[in-house]
Amino acid sequence: MIDTNQPRPATEPDDAWRLERTKTGVSGLDAILRGGLVRGAIYLVMGRPGTGKTTLGNQLCFAHTKQGGRAAYMTLLAESHAAMLKNLHTMSFFDASVINNGLSYVGAYRALRDEKLRGLLDMVRRVILDEKATLLVIDGISPARALAENDVALKEFVVELQMLSAMTNCTTILLANMTATDANDPEHTMVDGLIELAFEHFRRRTLRTVEVLKFRGTRHLLGRHELEISSAGVSVHPRLEDLLDGSGKPAPASDARLLTGIRELDTMLRGGVLRGTNSVALGFSGSGKTTLGLHFLNTGAEAGEPGVLFGFYESPDRICQSSERVGLRLREHAAHGKFTHVWQPSYEFGLDRLGARLLGEVERIGAKRVVIDSLDGFRQAAFDPSRTIRFMTALLGELRAREITTIMIDETMKPSGPEMEMRVEGISALVENLFLFEYMTVGPRMRRLLSIVKQRASAHETSAREFFLTGRGIEVAPDAASAAEVVAHTDDFSARHNERPRPPEGV
């Protein structure tokens, strides 16, 4: 209240216009909303059955009470409260102690049926004031539409509900069984925000998504984002390229070098890879790419630089076994928090969930080094393959901004050049350093060559060298002499008139 005898300067900001936010408590959703729901605003969450509306509505209530707010969940014609709570009690957000102690479940259908929209509005008023609710979820708004006298009455109801929410500073969420294509009715134009939950089908995979179609007062993240329902409830994985859009400050270019742990390779690189750069180890299956990654992470851990192996194929135990066979101590480094292996089958997660897992782990252990094994895991995880390059651009940009040095492994379809292609279209333009692992057949023997195809902003050795997988891991020949001999005698190359492999596409 303003004292009329104490006029305020006209330029003073008015508190009434300041947008106060209510965090949803739903992982990822606040990022899409740029900070949460606006307190006292009204939102419509719509979607077909099974898209997660009821779970989300309840989770918002439980999360709200956990933050110290008070919530009410009002149903019209929906499943009984007992049935709903029975289904929800296995979710980790469920907390029986807050029910009727900060969170109330209210049935409002009778008020609607007997007294129409006026009765429902009065019921809402009573619930908000009596329960001192700061969050109200109204589940199943369709009966209100069905029982409205006409369109104007429904519009009046929505406008009044919006005003009631604002005046009581109670954020209100309407859950509706409909899709955006049906959303041309009064309630859709009047609300402060429209959020759609949906299914997206890609071949035989189905993805849950969330899209914020309208959100007054905020430049929210556009587009469909992956929504996951697990035992933890609903979580949202914002599209990485949208989430990170312009947010990462580019890290200053560094002259500092990081040793790969393979002595002769570091010599070929003129002292190791530049800090904060990304590299691709490109080669055929079994050529030693993963072993290079293990050397890189082991050397980092020993230098006090924590590292993450983000892998799609080998289990953590198998990786530790492999490293022990070549004298690397990754199991020990893992025990001391200097190494961690995040492992997931690529088909289980979409790109954004993978990106969030990687960046979360990087954050958690303060990683300085990352190995991704392999790029193809991301490619296979993509529901829309053409998006992979945009995603990778954002991910690598973020890792670079955090001054993290990354090695990505990419498998070729052929054991050697000249036509070795990277499998994520367009990725080569992003790659700063490229190491080529090749198999050559010389008589009955397979021999391996390692080349540095490029190292951005630095000189490097241009000759290939032979390397060996031994009990000490990768050992690179001290000079190019044996590689020259391999190239001269290899069956593959002689068939191609001793043609040297060309750099992969786009390099």
Binding site: T4, P7, P9
Partner: protein, 131 residues
């Protein structure tokens, strides 16, 4: 003022606003608190209500068609039947540094927060000037 006191003798509050939802919802909320609420869509209608029914308090929007809140206050001050009725101003656009008629005892910016308005209403009806 307690709920019981209001139940025994509910004060008449006149809410004046040209904005439909503001008017209806503030009336709904005040009714729920035990007040008898009358409504008007502008200053002209408000004067008609004042002439019909004894009013304890007027809550009026500032900017309205036909007759705005400021003019309504001046008309009330010029009429001995209404010149002692306290007024609360509400507005989304009103400049707070502009002098107000002396019967305006409080001002609330829109969007209104009902708890603030209710506190102001109780204070004014108790006869205390707002701080």
């Amino acid at each position: 003022m307690t709920r019981r006191e209001m139940t025994e003798a509910p004060p008449n509050v006149l809410v004046v606003d040209d904005e439909y939802a503001s008017l209806e919802v503030l009336a709904l909320l005040l009714t729920g608190e035990g007040f008898r609420v009358l409504t008007a869509g502008d200053g002209v209608e408000a004067l008609e209500r004042l002439a019909e029914t004894p009013i304890a308090l007027v809550i009026t929007d500032y900017k309205m068609p036909k007759m705005d809140g400021s003019e309504l206050c001046l008309k009330m001050l010029g009429d001995p039947r209404f010149d002692r009725i306290p007024v609360i101003f509400t507005s989304a656009t009103y400049r707070q540094d502009v002098p107000r008629p002396k019967n305006v005892l409080a001002f609330f910016s829109k969007p209104l927060l009902f708890q603030d308005v209710l506190t102001g209403v109780h204070r004014i009806l108790k006869g205390a000037r707002s701080p």
